[in-house]
C-alpha cells in the first residue's frame, strides 16, 4: 500500500479545493462586510481611515437613517406589504390549486394551462400597460393596489407548487374526512393545508424574498413617501444623501440584514424550493 503517497495527494488536493472555495467565499462576503463597516464611520473618518476595522465605531448613522431618512416608515411598510402579499398568495393559490387537483368544472384545464403559460412567457415590459391600468382604476399610490399587483406576481408558481403537492395527497385521507362530514372547504382547510405544510414553507420564503426585494412596481405605483417600501425608500434616500456614504451604508445595512437573517434561518427551504422539480420544469 502506498498510503503515504495517497495521503499526501489527498492533502494537497483538499488544500487546493479549500483555497479555491475560500477565495470565492471571501469575495462574496467582503462587499457586505465593507457596507457594514462603513455604516459605523462618520463623514470625517470614512475618507481617511481605510483599515478593515475602524478605530472608532459610530452608531449615529443608524439614528439619522431611522428618523430623518424615514427608515422607520419604510421598514414598517415593507413588513406590511410582505405579510399581506404572502398571506394572500398562500390562501388564494392553495384554494385554486386544490380545485385544479381534486375538483372538477368545465374549462378547468384551460384555466390551469393559462397559469402555466404565464409562468413560461416572460413579460419584461408589461409594467407599462399595468401602470396605465392602475391609473384608470385609481390604484396608484394605494397600498391595496400594490398588494394586488404583487399577489399576481407570485400566483402562477405558487399554484403550480401547491397542485403538484395536492396531487400526491392520498385519496383515503379525503374519504375519511368526507365520512366525518367535512365539506369541500373543510377538506381543504383541515386535510390539504396541513398536508402541504412543507410546500407552504417554500412558498412563504420565496415570495417574501420577492416582495421584500421588489423595486420596479414600487417605483411606478408608490410615489408617496408614507407608502414606500424599503427598496423604494432607499432610492429616495440615496438621492437626498448621495454624498453622505456612511449614512447611506447604514440605510443599506438596515435593508440587507433582515433578509440575510431570515435566509440563514430558512436556507434549507430556499434550497429545496430552488431545486424542486416544479421549478426546474
Amino acid at each position: 500500500m502506498k498510503v503515504n503517497k495517497y495521503f499526501f495527494w489527498g492533502m494537497t488536493r483538499s488544500t487546493l479545493i479549500h483555497v479555491f472555495l475560500m477565495s470565492v467565499a471571501l469575495t462574496c462576503l467582503f462587499p457586505i462586510f465593507w457596507m457594514v463597516r462603513c455604516a459605523f464611520m462618520t463623514n470625517a473618518t470614512v475618507f481617511v481611515d481605510q483599515s478593515l476595522i475602524p478605530h472608532h465605531l459610530d452608531f449615529g448613522n443608524f439614528a439619522i437613517a431611522w428618523t430623518k431618512g424615514n427608515f422607520a416608515v419604510f421598514l414598517l411598510n415593507s413588513v406590511i406589504y410582505t405579510v399581506c402579499v404572502v398571506t394572500g398568495i398562500v390562501f388564494i393559490s392553495s384554494l385554486a390549486a386544490y380545485s385544479f387537483s381534486r375538483l372538477n368544472f368545465p374549462g378547468k384545464n384551460i384555466i390551469f394551462y393559462l397559469f402555466v403559460a404565464a409562468m413560461m412567457i416572460p413579460l419584461p415590459g408589461s409594467f407599462v400597460a399595468l401602470f396605465v391600468l392602475m391609473t384608470k382604476l385609481h390604484l396608484v399610490n394605494s397600498r391595496f393596489g400594490y398588494i394586488l399587483c404583487m399577489i399576481n406576481v407570485g400566483l402562477s408558481m405558487s399554484i403550480l407548487l401547491f397542485k403538484t403537492f395536492f396531487d400526491k395527497m392520498p385519496r383515503e385521507l379525503e374519504d375519511a374526512a368526507r365520512i366525518d362530514g367535512c365539506g369541500k372547504i373543510g377538506i381543504w382547510w383541515n386535510m390539504a393545508m396541513p398536508f402541504a405544510r412543507p410546500v407552504i414553507a417554500v412558498i412563504v420564503i420565496f415570495n417574501s424574498l420577492t416582495v421584500w426585494n421588489e423595486y420596479i412596481l414600487a417605483m411606478l405605483l408608490l410615489g408617496d413617501t408614507k407608502l414606500m417600501p424599503l427598496q423604494r425608500g432607499i432610492m429616495v434616500f440615496q438621492g437626498a444623501n448621495s454624498t453622505d456614504y456612511p449614512v447611506l451604508m447604514a440605510g443599506l445595512t438596515m435593508a440587507a440584514v433582515p433578509i440575510i437573517v431570515v435566509y440563514l434561518f430558512m436556507q434549507k427551504h430556499i434550497v429545496k424550493g430552488l431545486t424542486s422539480e416544479e421549478v426546474m420544469g
Binding site: 462576503l29 465593507w34 380545485s99 375538483l103 419584461p124 415590459g125 391600468l133
Partner: protein, 304 residues
Amino acid sequence: MDHKDKATAIFKDNLQNFLFVLPAFAIFCVFYIYPFYKMINLSFYDWRGIGPMHFIGLANYKELMGDNLWWNSMWHAGYITLIALVFQNPLAFALALACDQQIRMKRFYRVVFFIPPVLSQLVVGLIWNWILNPEMQNGQHIGFLNHFLYSSGFPQLVHDWLGDPKTALTTIAIVNSWQGFGWGFIMFLAGLQTIDKQLYEAARIDGASAWKTFTNITMPMMLPVILVVIILTILGCMQVFVLILALVNEGLVNHTDVPVTRIFSAMQNTNRFGYACAEAVIFGTILVCVSFITKRVSDKAKQA
C-alpha cells in the same frame, strides 16, 4: 323532475368548484391577461399617457427597427448575458464540483455563496457603487477598490470603472455575475447530488480516469440541469435593470442602457406609451424565441 334536480345539483357542484379558483382567476385576468392584451393593443397607437389616442398601425414597430439606441441596448444586455454564460456559470459549476467532494465546511460554503442572490439588486448595486467610487479626497482614493489597487502597488490600474464608457459595461457584467453565480451553484450542486454514487464507484473499478469519469458520467447526467440554468441565466440577465439603475443611475445613458431601461425611458421621460409597448412586445418575443431555440438546440445535442 328527478332529472332536473340532478342537473341542478351538478351545476351547483361545478359552480362551487369554480368558486375555489375564482379569486386567483380574477386577479390573474385583471393584472396579467388584461395588461398583456393592453400592451399589444397600445403598441399600435401613438399615445402620450393622457389625451387622444391615434391609431398608427405598425408605425411604432417600423421606427423601432431603425432605432439604433434600442438595438444597442439589446446588444448591451446580450453582452452582460454572454459574460454570465461564459464566466459565471462555469465558475458556479466548478464550485459545485468542489463542494460535491468529501471536504470540511461544505455547509459554510453553501450558505455563503447564496448570500449575494438573496440581496436585492438595488442594495448590491449601491454597495458596489460605493466600492468602485472613483473620487479622491485629500489625496486619497475614497473608493475601496482604487484605494486597494493604489496601496498594493498597482497605481496604474486605478480607474473610474463605472464612469469610463469602455469599462462600464464590463464592470456591470462582473457585478451581475458576482450576484448571480451562487444561484447557479445551488442548482448545479443539487444536480450533482442526485447522481448515483455507484456509477462513480463502477467507473473507478473499471479504471476510468477522472477526466473520463467527468465526460462520460457527470456531464451527461448534468445536461438537463445545465440546460435549465442556461435558459434561466439568459432570461434573468437580459432583463437586468435595477442593478444598472443603482450602479450608474443616469450616468452613461448610451453606453449602459438595456432594453428595460429603454422601455422605461420611453414611458417616463418622453411619455411615448405606444412606443414603450412596442418595445416591450418585441423584447418579450425575442426572449421567448431565444429560450425556445436554446431548448431545441440542447434537445438535439442530447440525442446526438
